[in-house]
Symmetry: C2
Subunit: 394 residues, 2 copies
């Protein structure tokens, strides 16, 4: 006898009523829109929240807890208890993450790399970074976004990544089109387990999607097990990523398991909000994003146009106070520019109480961002000539 | 006003009646069955017959006409007049062909390579040979056909190919999975112009086809223009291939043109019939095929079981004679083992007149095949240690 629909929803972990209501947000690998409800996303993607118990275990193993975890920005995971269990038994993992170049890196792109670098330092592990220089070429119609143009961007991204302070001995980067002699074969093995039906449903592809896009997810799967292939034995892998990228591994983890390798563990981060609002700071809206190569002047202008949670006038703000949750300036401190929780709380409180006015609030953030970017530029210059040594050749 | 259906068919070049009749044969890249009507295939694929005018032009430019062309075995083409026009203007082409390893090479696989080697000799051109070691892995369900197994077969195929007498300075071979750092990027460029709809219709794929198969045709397209990429200017390309492979280029030629390269010219060969009949000697039916590594004994046994066009008894054959068109032994002479037209005509006449009985007929062919295979083995042994120098590394 079939279950009553309501019972089915309860038993399968779905929320009956909200599932019947139209979706108010959408998160796919190629599109994020609406106000993202992250608890709902956890349910929808079948991932697990990083709860207090999980946080304690990470803290115990790492000796510390990164502010991105403490603040719930890395909010969900797959198989993290298993991965840490392996680590506790002495079976070290490696970290894999990446970025698909399309138009310069924004500070929002940094989250998975900041986490990767912290994991490397705390667990003393190798980091493998994939730069899929074909993905956006295949996904976008822009005729100016040639593979040659993307290849330039890929080098710029690689330098930006290394400048975050990765261990130069334990970090390697590769570009898909240059390294395919080592990866295409493994992608082929993965692809044999993935049908058109699967990618159609998972990515929202249609009959008019090009066959490069249909295949691409196989390439993104490879770094999650390539160290096992190379080592001739299973090596656990941990992937910090933006939650929109989870879909690639929802699809690939089954295939990877069928090939006889460990399924990768994953840590998911929330999206850095846009300066002017919106679920995700997108690199396709320059005014809404801070790029790593923005000038001081550009940063000042962009931050000055940011939305805050403040009242319409300074008078009203002083009287009523503002809402840090709705203030992109506060959120930038939370996500990226104030690692100290006590100091962050001071900023949030000042916003709430109306003692911190918009002009000063924005000027402070712009100074912090410009300080970070200036330091970052210096680190980049120091690394520029060495970059080639971190890039894997097939 | 819509045309009367019959008029439509006449005007569009279709044969009205036969188009309404059920298809009696099928030729796709992954399946050939039924009795192939090659004139119909020319119409269906939109290719051109190699007629007397075309033969004369080839003969003029090549200084000779290969028996495979004279006998209508290479029976059709795409853009051959254009290619020869370029050659006549001093713009040399290169030859590209290949083979997807799955279970050892048969003598039927040799036709495009025999043609490639002849073209190389007559036109003094480079030959590029692709060995797509992923294709059959993706296409077949056989769990024993691993990529590692195919890689072994690929080396064996490469040796068999070079033993046909290619110019060692002007011939290079590559395996897809090893050479992907040079080809994947170009395949990505092609793939952007090819949708799921296109490959679904062209190859008969379904929603359950794996995404590696969907993408694969892009990899087969690359060698048709890679010399242009490398040279930084357009270089004409000629592809001799079995007519079942034409579909890859029906799909890719548009994409290649959109990328700004010359569309490759193509020469199509008919299928070598099976020893026991059937449209195509398939490497998946060992008893119906002669493998390049068959022993003398195996050849004798297989040829002995071949169908002939002869009468049921020797008495009847002597009285009534046989039909060389229906005799696989005669056809093997025609396709592969008797390049001299006058001698072939003698064999056919003897079959027609009933003066050549089945036993002797078969024994003669078996001797010829065994002589060829013995010489081939010797040429292979002489080349074995040098093979690596013909294989391109990424």
């Amino acid at each position: 006898m079939p279950l009553h629909p309501k019972l089915f929803y309860i038993r399968s972990g779905h929320n009956y009523l909200s599932d019947l209501m139209p979706e108010s947000f959408n998160v796919t690998a190629y599109d994020v829109n609406g106000e993202v409800d992250y608890s709902k996303l956890i349910e929808r993607f079948g991932i697990k929240p990083i709860d207090k118990v999980m946080e304690e275990r990470i803290k115990k193993d790492a000796g510390d807890l990164h502010y991105l975890i403490r603040r719930g920005i890395f909010f969900a995971h797959r198989d993290l208890p298993w991965l840490l269990g392996e680590y506790e038994k002495g079976n070290k993992f490696y970290v894999y993450t990446g970025i698909a170049p399309s138009g310069g890196m924004t500070i929002a792109h940094l989250l998975p790399f900041i986490m990767a670098q912290w994991l490397q330092k705390r667990f003393d592990v190798e980091v493998l970074i994939q730069i899929p220089d074909e993905e956006k070429f295949l996904a976008k119609k822009d005729p100016n976004l040639t593979l040659e143009k993307i290849h330039e961007l890929a080098y710029a991204d690689a330098l930006n990544i290394m400048a975050l302070g990765f261990d130069q001995k334990k970090t390697r980067i590769f570009f898909d089109t240059d390294y395919a002699s080592r990866t295409y074969k493994q992608a082929v093995r993965v692809s044999k387990y993935i049908t058109y039906s699967i990618v159609k449903d998972a990515f929202g592809f249609s009959n008019e999607t090009n066959i490069g896009m249909l295949f691409y997810t196989s390439m993104q799967a490879v770094p999650a097990f390539i160290k096992s292939v190379e080592a001739g034995k299973n090596v656990p892998c941990l992937i910090p990523l933006g939650v929109d990228q989870d879909v690639h591994f929802r699809v690939a983890r089954n295939a990877i398991e069928k090939l006889g390798y460990y399924k990768p563990a994953i840590m998911h981060n929330k999206f850095v909000p846009g300066l002017k609002g919106g679920a995700k700071m997108s690199s396709s809206d320059p005014g809404n994003s801070i790029y790593l190569d923005d000038s001081e002047d550009e940063v000042n202008k962009k931050v000055n146009r940011a939305i805050t949670g403040q009242q319409a006038t300074a008078e009203l703000q002083k009287k009523l106070g503002g809402d840090p949750e709705k203030c992109s300036v506060c959120q930038y401190y939370r996500f990226l520019f104030e690692p100290d929780d006590a100091k962050l709380e001071d900023i949030f409180n000042a916003e709430r109480k109306g003692t911190l006015l918009a002009g000063e609030h924005k000027a402070d953030l712009a100074r912090r961002i410009n300080k970070f970017l200036a330091d970052h530029r210096k680190r980049k210059e120091a690394l520029r000539d060495k970059l080639g040594s971190f890039i894997l050749q097939a």
